[in-house]
Symmetry: C3
Subunit: 382 residues, 3 copies
């Protein structure tokens, strides 16, 4: 990629990562590392290194560990262990060029850094995203009567979002029921009855009535709502997480809270449609970008941006566990978006000032606008 | 784009626009113009000019108003108002290079030009497409007994299509129920019962039985049926307008009328599949092409044409309201199709005579064939 | 396409075609040939030659019959008849560079070559894939009591797969019911009841309970299961053959048999997702590649490989009837994969050794691994 003005501008842009997780707080062994770089598993004879994301790690991350490009997995992991996680995290986070992190703190099968710990690695700002299913499950774990569930959950959610630094809530309804839900707010007796069933069997929140209730509670909280859509691990039923299944709910909640569709692949066009016709809908292609790698990032962004208003796409890495993904996500985003925009500038389909403005919006300002974050001086403004 | 022989041929081809609407008959103000160039709305802080179609208007339409490429929206709108709608319409319609217009006259939230008024701007030919939902709603508005509904609607539809210049009917079932309908022709008592419910509450025709009845009435009328599929405004439930949901109905109606799938995005591959396996099915990517703009028109056409017989894709603009869209639709079609075909010729994957023949078919002759329009002298013939 | 090292390597690679059919044993006339090169029909005024696959035949097959590229259909068919089927088959199969054929023997509306006859044309190896619906239908045709159906079908399936050379089973559930089935193994009384209904009316196996039973019988047989997904003729209901509809069944059968998703288009991304998150799932884009032709093969492979582990994609032609398709499928695969990989090598996104390894895996070794075929000396190994 030759470095035109759009590339240069995007390369220098300090990103706002509007959706990510923490880094594991212990150096992973090979199996641990491999399981962190796949949405599948580490299977005999099928190493996650032999996949697009594995190739991208060896190509784009190895040099930051002082290794040649395309270093073999063994060398990569040995050098990674040698440097240790603090140095590894510092290098990748510095390379990411991200200085604002909105961190989903509600998913931690591994021990992860806190938002503050993550951001401090590069002297950045940390904000928190509250995962509402985790709030509900904590309420259940502490014990609650079914007829008190709605009130106790609501109070717990309010407590969670009132903490300093919280800028959004998130739902993983995609993983629990999918989106083919009755869109209407469930009446109280129905919630109580559903809570009775759920509390009796414990486990994760996957009752359709309670998931609906959770989404409507998000509306009441008034903060932007991040929604996992599309790509994820094998717990997803892909045909039930097409975001257009939310259309009726989006009509009912129009004029209330911003809704941010995360990941979206392979439904990036469907997400783009919603972002085009609903004022409150936004999208990103986080997670997708590092899994497809820089070689396909542009293609995904092309589809995500086909009809999408430029104010509606945000940057996220959705990095989880390994610091490599903050770097890869940012790299793939900058690379893909810059190629797309620079080519349009070169073909005179887009003016250079417009391309620069769009870069700043998508990499930073759109997130600041949606979450009410301060725009640093020197950054692009609307 | 360098101008190879395919580009030159497509640039010179007089197009048949087999599906479009009229132009507003009053000069729109900024808000009005912005609302006409989006399938969403005009929202605070998110101007429709800041989107792919807005960029395309500034790039490709501004020069026709004597402005520099990429002129700012304010200058664009000021110059547009200064010239006035007659001159604006004349310039864009002349630039479109379209001389046959098949106009859907059944949707007019704004005051629009008639087919004749539209075509006369460039001395072209006008044909009419009768929107069957509008016919049914007019029947209801005039008052009808439920048990007479089927007959009165049928008679009204026959009257509508017998008028001179009518070449097709259209249904917006996509907007009313989607396509996951019982494919079988509804029996009379069921139609009467559905009419009773619908007539009692009035409003637009969205009863599933009556929508089915409407589609079967189209079969009886014997004219080609245009069907909105895919992309549209927020009234669409995207997951219910995948055209392959029509498969059972297409089997039942095989051997009767041609069915033209309009717009299709993001289901252009699904539409292409149907056009490949059903003799009576055709498709276009109208509406889509000006919304994605020339920068992505080729990509959409590539998908729409992946497996599609060359006799099965037609050109339409689906322009509505603003004259810019006749120009942009035609430009994106010519540009995208020419790039696609010329590259295949250059790679020796396609012969030049075949590329020229395909251009003529898709831009003009396929529509003439389906609708029985006269082929002008000098045009490509099968 | 300039011939970089990846192209050269792929051009020389002897392919394993893990899913194909036989060639017709009589020289087809024009109508017969045309009906064999379309998933639609041969319709008045719409020749299958006027489609992407028809263009590909004229471009890439004509020279092998000593005709100029892009020869007209008439000349093509005349020369084909002149040479006769033995010579035609020999030329195309030799050009395909395939030396292992896994042949589905259960679909033969035309008289076809046996696997051995097919492979012997080029001195290759033949393996057989048993289509389970054909086994079940043979059981019904021979007569069976409903309460014996399950046992007799199971015994017949065991007999079929125990024959020498059988390496896999196949199901065309996609054509019969689609994949929105109850994923659970049906209990015996339910199978008996369903058999009673089906045997009473005869015809092809399309009862949902018996199709489920068939899929679970495949699990018991222990061989890899090939599943038609996506693209096919008009018997497909495309919205019911999205492979992600199988997710619950894949969870229930995890750890049992390999499942190979065939064709997949337009669901190649959905299939890639399943191959990424389920250890036992693999995919190909056979059938699709020759129908889209070399001009679009790369684009399809790009989508199929976006996130897919490199061990998970296999080569197949899904050729049926005409020898042209073994050649076209192989050509489109080599051409598309080589372009994709070489560009990544040229952009330094992938190392050359990795590209060569991936080529060998996808063209040959992945199939050998899944089906337990011997790897010839000189071939790439994991």
């Amino acid at each position: 990629m030759s470095a035109g003005p759009v590339q240069q501008s995007l390369a220098a842009l300090r990103l706002v990562d509007h959706h990510c997780h923490g880094v594991v707080t212990a150096d992973p062994d090979r199996e641990g590392f491999e399981s962190l770089i796949t949405e599948g598993g580490a299977w005999p004879g099928i190493s996650p290194f032999d996949s697009p994301v594995g190739v991208a790690v060896r190509r784009h991350c190895a040099p930051l560990l002082d290794l040649p490009r395309h270093a073999p997995p063994e060398e990569y992991l040995a050098r990674r262990a040698e440097l240790g996680r603090y140095e590894v995290d510092r290098r990748f986070l510095a390379a990411a060029g991200t200085d604002v992190f909105c961190v989903d703190t509600g998913f931690a099968p591994d021990r992860l850094t806190t938002p503050r710990e993550l951001a401090e690695v590069v002297g950045g700002a940390a904000y928190e995203v509250v995962r509402l299913e985790s709030v509900a499950e904590a309420v259940a774990a502490e014990g609650v009567e079914p007829d008190a569930y709605a009130d106790v959950f609501r109070a717990a959610a309010w407590d969670a979002v009132r903490r300093p630094g919280v800028v959004a809530v998130k739902s993983v309804a995609a993983y629990r029921t999918g989106f083919d839900l009755d869109p209407v707010r469930p009446p109280d007796p129905e919630v109580t009855e559903a809570a009775r069933r759920w509390l009796a069997r414990s486990g994760r929140l996957d009752d359709p009535v309670l998931v609906r209730h959770l989404l409507w509670t998000a509306v009441d909280l008034g903060l932007p709502l991040q929604l996992h859509t599309g790509f994820g691990d094998s717990d997803i039923r892909m045909h039930r997480v097409d975001p257009t299944l939310l259309t009726d709910w989006l009509h009912l909640t129009s004029g209330t809270i911003p809704v941010l569709l995360l990941h979206c692949w392979p439904y990036q066009r469907q997400a783009a449609y919603l972002a085009t016709v609903f004022e409150q809908v936004y999208l990103d292609v986080g997670l997708t970008l590092h899994y497809v790698g820089p070689a396909r990032a542009r293609a995904i962004l092309e589809e995500a941006l086909e009809i999408t208003p430029f104010r509606k796409l945000l940057y996220s890495s959705d990095a989880y566990g390994v610091a490599e993904f903050y770097h890869l996500g940012a790299l793939a985003f900058r690379h893909g978006l810059a190629e797309l925009l620079q080519d349009r500038v070169d073909a005179d389909e887009l003016s250079r000032p417009d391309a620069l403005r769009i870069s700043g919006w998508m990499g930073r300002d759109n997130a600041c606008r949606v979450y009410g974050l301060p725009l640093s001086h020197g950054e692009v403004r609307a």
